[in-house]
Amino acid sequence: MSTTRDSLQERIAVNIPIRREKLTPLLLVGPALVTVFLVTIGPMLWSLWLSFNRWTPSSITYQEPTFNGIGNFAWLFTEGRFWDSAINFVYYGGVGVTVQVLLGTALALALYNYVERRSVRIGLLTLFAVPMMIAPLVAGRIWQLLLLPGGGAVNGILGMVGNSGLPWLQSRWLGLTALMIADTWQWVGLPLLIIYGGRASIPDSMYEAAQVNGASRWMQFRRITLPQLQTLIAIAFILRFMDAYKFFDKLFIITRGGPGTQTELPTFYTYIVGFSEFNIGRAAALTWVIGLGSILTMLLFWRFMNTEGSV
C-alpha cells in the first residue's frame, strides 16, 4: 500500500505526465507490430480484398484487379471441381486424421503398458518418430514407388498372400487412401509421442489405487486413462487437422490430383487455380473459404471436447 502511495507522490513531485508512461510500451513494441502487420496481417487483408476482384495477371491483355463483388465466391460454389475436392477432404481429413490419432493413441498406450524394457520402448518411440524427419517430398516419392501397380512393393506383398493387388493410384478412393497411408506412416509418430508423454505423466499410484478399489482394466482405461488424456488427444487432433488442411506436398508427388482431377484436395485445387490458371482472385476466394472452414472445424471440435468432459 505504502509503496504505491509513495510512487504516486514521487510522480506528482517530479511532475511526470501519466500519458507518456502509457505511450512508452507502445513505442517499444511498435516496430514488432509494424513488421507483423507488413508480413502477415497486411497480405491477409490484401488477399481478402483480392477475393472480391477479378484478377488474371497472366492473360495476354493484362488487367488490373477489377472489383466483381462476390463473383469469385459465386463461381466457387457452382464449380463441381471445388465440391469434389471438398468431399475428398472430408474423407481424407475426417477418416485420415481420426485413424492417425486413434492409431497413435493405441500404439502409445500399448508401448507404455506392454513393452517392459525401457530401451526397447525408447527404440520403438524413436523409430516411429523418424519418418517425421523425412522431407514430405521424399516420403511421397517413397510411397509412390511402393504403391506402383506393377512392381510396387505393396502389391508385391499382396500378391504373395494371394491377392491380385490393388490399382492404388488409378481411382479416386484408392488414390486418397494411398495418400492417407503415406501420411499416416509419416505422421503417426506425432500423436504417439504426445499421448505417450501424457500417459507417462499419470502416476502409477492412480492405477494401484484403482486396482485396490476393485476396478477392472477396462474401467481403469475408461475412467482414469481416457479422461486424463482427453485434452492431449484433442490437441493431437487439432495439430493433425491443421496439417490436413494444408496438405499438399505428398499429394503433388503421389497422385498429382489424378487420375484426372479426382484426388484433388482444396489446397491443391487452389494451387491449380492460382498458379496454373493464374486466376488470383478466385484463388484468394478459395483460401478464405478454406481458412474459415478450418476455423469452424476447430471451434466445433473444442466445443465437442469441452462438453464431453471437463479436464
Partner: protein, 367 residues
Amino acid sequence: MARVEIDNLTKRYGSIVATNDISLDIEDGNLTVLVGPSGCGKTTTLRSVAGLETPTEGSISFDGVDITDRPPQERDISMVFQDLALYPHMTGRENVAFPLRAEKGYSEAEIEEAVQEAAEVTDCDRFIDKKITDLSGGQQQRVALARALVRRPEVFLMDEPFSDLDELLKRQLRAEVVQLQQEFGVTMIHVTHDQEEAMTMGDDLVVMNQGDVVQFGNPDEVFSRPRTLFVAMFIGSPQINRFDCGLSWNGDTAVLNSGELVFELLGEVAEPLRRATETRLAVCIRPQRLSWAETEPEDGFSVPARVNVVEKIGTEDIVRCTTPEGQDVTAEVDSGALTEGMEGHLVFDPDNLHLFDGVNEEAERLN
C-alpha cells in the same frame, strides 16, 4: 474384518532383498504400525498385503484363506497412498463413489447413501462436491480416507498418508483415524517412518530394519524393552543416550568403561552381563530417566555434564549436554530447571539402563 497372517514373506528385486523371510500375525481389528527407516521393507510388506507386489516366496492369508495369488481387486482391502492417488479429473464425491462403482451391483441410491455416510464420518461433506485440485492438502486427505472407508473393507492399509501434512493437522488426523478404526473395528495396517506416529497410533508396532522384523510388540514394550540396539536408537524421542563401553570383571562387579566414564554394576543389575559375548557393549539410557544433581552423588550413578542447549517443549525441557571429553548426552527435565552453561551431574538408576551385546545395530538386549 480379518486376521492377517504373513508367512515367511520374501521379496527380492534382482539381488536386492526388500523383505527377508518376514512372518507376522496381525489380529482381527488391530491397528498395527509398520515402522522403520526408509528402505527397511515396510512399504514392500504393505504392498504385498495389498497385492500390488507379488512375493518372491511366502504367503499371505486373510482369516486363514490364502490370498497370495489374488489380484488386488479380489482382496477386499482398501488403501490410502502416500501421494493419496485421488483422481484429479473427478470431484471428491466421484472419487469416493469409485470403489462402489467398480464393485458393481449397487444402485445409484445406495451409492449416494454410502458416499454421504463416508463423507460424514471423515468430516468432508462440506467440500465433497469440489474438484480434487481445488482442495487443500488436509481436505484431500479426508477425501482419500472417505474413499478407503466407503466400501467397509476387511483390511485397511495406510502407506505414510500423513507425511506431507503440517504437524498440527497430522496429529489431528492421526487421532481421527485411530477413532474411526476403533469405531469400525477394522483391521488396519499403517506404515510410517515416524516413530512418534507409530507410538501414538499403534495397538502393535512392527519395527523393521533392512528387510527384517526386529521387534513386534505393543508400544510400551518396544519403548521400555527394545530388543536390539537398533530399536533402542530408533524408537523414542529425544533419542536414547548411548555409551559404548568395554566390559571387564572385577570379581562380581562388572566394570563398563567408555574410556571416559566408568560404571560399576553389581548384583542383579550385573547378572545379565554374564551372557555377553562381545567385549564392547552399548550401554543406553533414555533421556527421560536422567535427572540433574549439582554435585556428584556418592552412592549413585551419574555422568558429569555441562548444559549446552535448552529446548522448550512445554512442561518439559530437552537439555543437550556434553561430558568433559565431549560425548553428547541428552536429558528431559522439568521446564526451567536448567539453563545453558550450568555444570553438574546427570544421575540415573542402573535399573533403567538398557544393555546390548555389542555396538552394532543388531546387538541384542542383555537385560
